[in-house]
């Protein structure tokens, strides 16, 4: 370069002189800084090793072919230039200046502004659509619908030829074979893909049997996944009455479809896993309910049994048999008392009888007879004869004496 002639190392330097590293670095820096072309140039390449720090500065390597260029994008420069979000793999053109970074002994490019190119244009569309749909509220957490716990019918929008479909079916077969899968075939890459995906999703809604829909495809390049970044697909997902799980590409791929979907799964396989419960859990749940059922009915029976026990105890307490027993006892008591009373009465009578009998005995005519008196009775009528007027000649009488009777004839 001609301009090089305008600069030189200190005068003492010639072919045999030795300079210090600092002196050399300073020379190099000055050389770069005084070159107008290197101070304002656009360089195009692909970003790799992108790192951004809390300070807001970011660092990356711009690669192209076998060459690479270390780049620094300071926060102030990024803000001033309203730079797009950068990330690995993006094709960008950066504008700035080259300088020698003495401390590391490296040439660095200080970026003042950056713009997306090529694939970068896709990213710009991605960011624009993302911003637009976000502004419409399509990504709002409030729009996300909960997935049904046990989807009976699972709709799948993907290519029937894709390996992703086989992966999903394998998961569904293992985890939840109770389900019924309705495949709504679509193209998943190429210019027709966005409209095809949207139509397939609309058809599932029209059919109306699916409880949940998986929209997805396997991994691929950014171009291959691009259909899932198209507005047509985003709108179809947004208007789906059936909850949608997206499963596009690999873990690191984020698509617009992912943002609109009710649930974003990292891969088609993960989407199938998220869509259904594990049948093993359901076996356990049925088992649990079965046990609870048995326990409950046993409880019921036990309660009834206890009620019966209580009731019979109560019944026994109130039983007329008990009353009868009581009555029987009091009857016994009364009978007893009656007995005693009777005995008492009888002995009382007996005593009185004995008294009377003694009295009677004292008054008995027999005693008089025993003293030598006798009683004369007319045989004819047993009247006692106390006067001569009572008998006539020829009557038969009986004289009672102490030890017997003497029959007599009246002369």
């Amino acid at each position: 370069m001609d301009s090089m002639d305008d600069f030189s190392l200190p005068a003492f330097v010639d072919g045999t002189s030795v300079v210090s590293v600092s002196e050399f670095a300073q020379y190099l820096r000055e050389l770069l800084e005084t070159n107008d072309i290197l101070q304002n140039i656009w360089v195009q390449g692909e970003i790799s090793n992108y790192k951004s720090y809390a300070s807001g500065h970011c660092y990356f390597t711009l690669k192209e072919g076998d060459a690479q260029l270390l780049c620094v994008f300071f926060k102030y420069a990024r803000l001033r230039s309203a730079a797009p979000e950068l990330r690995d793999g993006m094709a960008v053109a950066v504008n700035g200046r080259a300088a020698f970074y003495e401390r590391d002994g490296k040439l660095q490019f200080y970026v003042e502004r950056a713009r997306l190119v090529g694939e970068g244009a896709l990213f710009r569309r991605f960011e624009q659509l993302k911003a637009k749909l976000a502004a419409e509220g399509l990504f709002d957490a409030g729009r996300k619908r909960p997935l049904p716990e046990q989807p009976a019918v699972i709709g799948i929008v993907t290519s029937p030829q894709a390996a992703a479909l086989r992966d999903m079916l394998r998961v569904l077969r293992t985890r939840y074979p109770l389900a019924q899968v309705v495949l709504s075939p679509s193209q998943v890459q190429g210019v027709e893909a966005p409209a095809s995906i949207a139509a397939a999703l609309d058809r599932l809604n029209e059919h109306g049997e699916a409880d949940i829909v998986i929209v997805g495809r396997g991994g691929g390049s950014i171009e291959e996944l691009w259909a899932f970044n198209e507005e047509l697909v985003a709108r179809a997902i947004a208007r789906s009455r059936i909850p949608v799980i997206s499963g596009v590409g690999h873990e690191t791929d984020f698509t617009i479809a992912d943002f609109v979907a009710d649930v974003r799964a990292s891969t088609p396989t993960a989407a199938a896993t998220a869509a259904v419960p594990d049948i093993a859990d359901w076996r356990g749940r049925v088992e649990d309910l079965s046990e609870e059922l048995t326990e409950l009915v046993q409880e019921h029976l036990y309660e009834r049994k206890m009620q019966i026990v209580d009731a019979s105890r109560e019944l026994l307490r109130l039983s007329p048999l008990r009353l009868i027993d009581q009555q029987r006892q009091s009857l016994d008591e009364v009978a007893d008392r009656l007995q005693v009373q009777m005995q008492h009465l009888i002995s009382l009578r007996r005593e009185r009888m004995q008294g009377l009998s003694l009295q009677l005995h004292a008054l008995s005519p027999l005693l008089t007879i025993a003293r030598g008196y006798s009683v004369v009775r007319r045989d004819v009528d047993q009247t006692i004869v106390t006067s001569t007027q009572q008998v006539r000649s020829g009557d038969t009488l009986t004289i009672q004496v102490e030890d017997g009777y003497i029959p007599v004839n009246v002369l």
């Binding site: 079916l169 109770l178 029976l301």
Partner: protein, 84 residues
């Protein structure tokens, strides 16, 4: 989809989800407790039949895969598809 079944239903026509929901209903009713013994026993029998039915469904379940096709007149139809 929560399905509440009331009164008479034919168990053979229930999907697993419906049968399970019904089973939950039965257990819930028994859990609440206040019902005549005869009814409790009926519920229990119904519940055990549902348990058996659910287990059979789980045992014999086989993922069915059908394809939603659209005819030229725009009508939709489900057709069997062999993806093996």
């Amino acid at each position: 989809m929560k399905v509440m079944l009331v009164g008479v239903y034919s168990m053979e026509q229930l999907s697993f989800e419906e049968a399970y929901a019904q089973l939950e209903t039965v257990v819930g009713a028994l859990r609440d407790g206040q019902m005549p013994l005869e009814q409790a026993l009926e519920r229990y029998q119904e519940g055990m039949k549902l348990v058996q039915y659910c287990n059979e469904l789980l045992q014999n379940a086989q993922l069915s895969v059908q394809q939603l096709n659209v005819a030229t007149d725009g009508s939709l139809s489900l057709d069997d598809v062999d993806l093996q």
